[in-house]
């Protein structure tokens, strides 16, 4: 099944490289969730995430000739999205802080047993510094290993591992503080 999908994507990539729009559309359909989710979890703003995802695919369209395989395509999309997210966040740092609490969640069917915990976790991840945030997203959304993250972000593997541990500790602290505040607000 997976091999079949790989073959289909390989064919779509070949068609897209030759200038076929249908082939490119298939690539976008396949990877839109990945690109949009990285941007959304990083920026916590669906319109900014959509804008960024569109720019990533536009950039891909202009650089299709440099893509060698479907694996390379996936790596390229993750790398470009990660770097653009970090750049965007730096540019909009001031606005981002204001927007964080204002944004509404996009409508998605949730399978999480604890919506409140999930939302608190998302907000806590979004409040991490840029590099830490991206490492956590790549690790837990994209299920990448430290070596893959290190290659993507051009960092030493040990730095990725230590950053990941530090981020988890920070998330625990932030979450404890956030739930503590909520307890005081309720009682």
């Amino acid at each position: 099944m997976e091999a079949q999908q790989d073959n289909r994507l390989e064919a779509a990539l070949g068609k897209a490289v030759r200038g076929d729009q249908a082939g490119f559309a298939e690539i976008v359909e396949e990877h839109q969730g990945m690109v949009f989710s990285i941007a959304f979890h990083f920026l916590r703003n669906s319109s900014l995430a959509e804008e960024l995802a569109q720019e990533v695919f536009l950039h891909l369209y202009q650089n299709l000739s440099s893509i060698q395989s479907t694996a390379h395509l996936k790596y390229w999309l993750r790398r470009v999205t990660a770097h653009r997210c970090i750049d965007q966040s730096r540019r909009l740092k001031f606005r981002q802080e204001v927007a964080l609490d204002e944004v509404a969640e996009p409508a998605v069917a949730s399978s999480s047993p604890d919506l409140m915990l999930s939302e608190r976790l998302q907000k806590s991840v979004a409040s991490l510094p840029e590099k830490q945030r991206m490492i956590v997203i790549l690790r837990y959304q994209e299920e990448l290993g430290p070596a893959e993250i290190a290659e993507l972000l051009k960092m030493p593997v040990n730095t990725v591992k230590s950053t990941l541990n530090r981020s988890l500790a920070e998330l625990r602290k932030k979450l404890a503080r956030s739930f503590g505040e909520m307890k005081y607000a309720i009682f």
């Binding site: 729009q21 490119f24 559309a25 976008v28 359909e29 839109q32 969730g33 990945m34 949009f36 989710s37 959304f40 979890h41 669906s46 995430a49 959509e50 995802a53 569109q54 695919f57 536009l58 369209y61 996009p106 998605v108 399978s111 999480s112 604890d114 915990l117 999930s118 939302e119 608190r120 976790l121 998302q122 991840v125 956590v136 997203i137 837990y140 959304q141 299920e143 998330l171 625990r172 979450l175 404890a176 956030s178 739930f179």
Partner: protein, 117 residues
């Protein structure tokens, strides 16, 4: 509040963009391609000399040029006139001075007593 890695995975699960995202991407690509081709081939997009598109601007420019030309001509005429007036005044003054001098000389000649011989 403790949480597991599974909770984090759940919180960061993939989300899909709004509907028709692919169509929006393709439309944007089309727009960029159109702009690119228009830039690459400016003769196609640039309106011709007699195009109706820029007529109001052309008429305004022509009117401004006409006003400036008339202004320059008028100023030139005024300068010539001033020069002529100055020359006329100087000529009259010259004639007046010459006339006075001649009159004085004539008067001296006529009223000078005759020398005794």
């Amino acid at each position: 509040m403790p949480f597991s890695e599974e909770d984090l995975r759940c919180a960061l699960r993939r989300k899909m963009p709004g509907p028709a995202f692919t169509q929006r991407v393709l439309a944007r690509i089309g727009q960029v391609e159109d702009n690119k081709s228009a830039q690459a081939n400016p003769a196609v997009s640039r309106p011709g000399f007699f195009s109706f598109r820029f007529w109001p601007a052309r008429i305004a420019a022509l009117a401004a040029m006409l006003v400036i030309a008339i202004g320059v001509m008028q100023y030139d005429r005024y300068k010539t006139h001033v020069k002529q007036e100055t020359a006329k005044r100087q000529a009259l003054l010259g004639i007046e001075i010459a006339s006075t001098t001649l009159n004085q000389a004539l008067h001296r000649a006529l009223v000078r007593p005759a020398k005794p011989h």
